[in-house]
Symmetry: C2
Subunit: 135 residues, 2 copies
Amino acid sequence: MPKVIDPACAPHDHSARPPATFVRPGAIERAAGIFRAMGDAPRLRLLALLGQGEACVTEIAAAAGDDLSTISQRLRVLRNEGLVSRRRNGKHILYGLADQHVADLLFNALAHASEGRADLSRLASLVPPTNPTQE
Amino acid sequence: MPKVIDPACAPHDHSARPPATFVRPGAIERAAGIFRAMGDAPRLRLLALLGQGEACVTEIAAAAGDDLSTISQRLRVLRNEGLVSRRRNGKHILYGLADQHVADLLFNALAHASEGRADLSRLASLVPPTNPTQE
DNA sequence: TTAATAGTTGAACAGTTGATCAAGTGTCCC
DNA sequence: GGGACACTTGATCAACTGTTCAACTATTAA
């Protein structure tokens, strides 16, 4: 039997550790908000769609097979966390990913989610290296 | 007033777009699960703590000022999504970040959350380039 | 102005989730 | 074995979240 070197909670000291507030508390809360907004499959699918380019609400609703109102509510959540951009074009309102950071986050997560069982090269097309929201 | 070039939903065609299933559906669901697990401030703070190195439950509970049971429940959620590693050391169970991917995700999110108003150099110490769970 | 299209917002309801407590398992030491 | 310590698990309950429906605002075209 492998004897444990230290009887207690060995290699690290039990009390001489810097407090959890190593990173400013506000950042944690904001990051959690961002994750919470992305932590819903329909909403994440919506973001993935926007990763392919801008789209108006009607278009998104058609692609998702959902109600306009439902899509609008989902977009509101994403917008509240600053994850999507919004601009008007006539009668339509075009949504897109807010910035490259969001695209990176999305890509990273999908890469992790597909780890070891899907070819990541397919994911690359989701978020091209150039800015997805060209203007 | 700037006249709109196209009367309808201009620059992109309204129906000639590949379906949202550009990335396999399972990956979206898993990624959403990961985000959901990280989308809670106490849980994210816990992950940030583990980013500094392994820790046992008692230690985490002390740092967070929370109940053992509460911490255990939070760890269960994170473990269900494969975000943390677990190994026994005598009476204690040491938790850590599951892999570098999780660390990257964490770092990326905190970087985005602090965008433009905090120096990111501080965050770098949270997730060192070397693997945080040395064995 | 009126009608039609496009989207947002508020309320209500069902489903989910997180904290807490009590009871359980596993490991160490005597 | 027995007791102490270190967790885990199941149940309960309050709080939150997502969807739906109805009513509302905004833009365009006639």
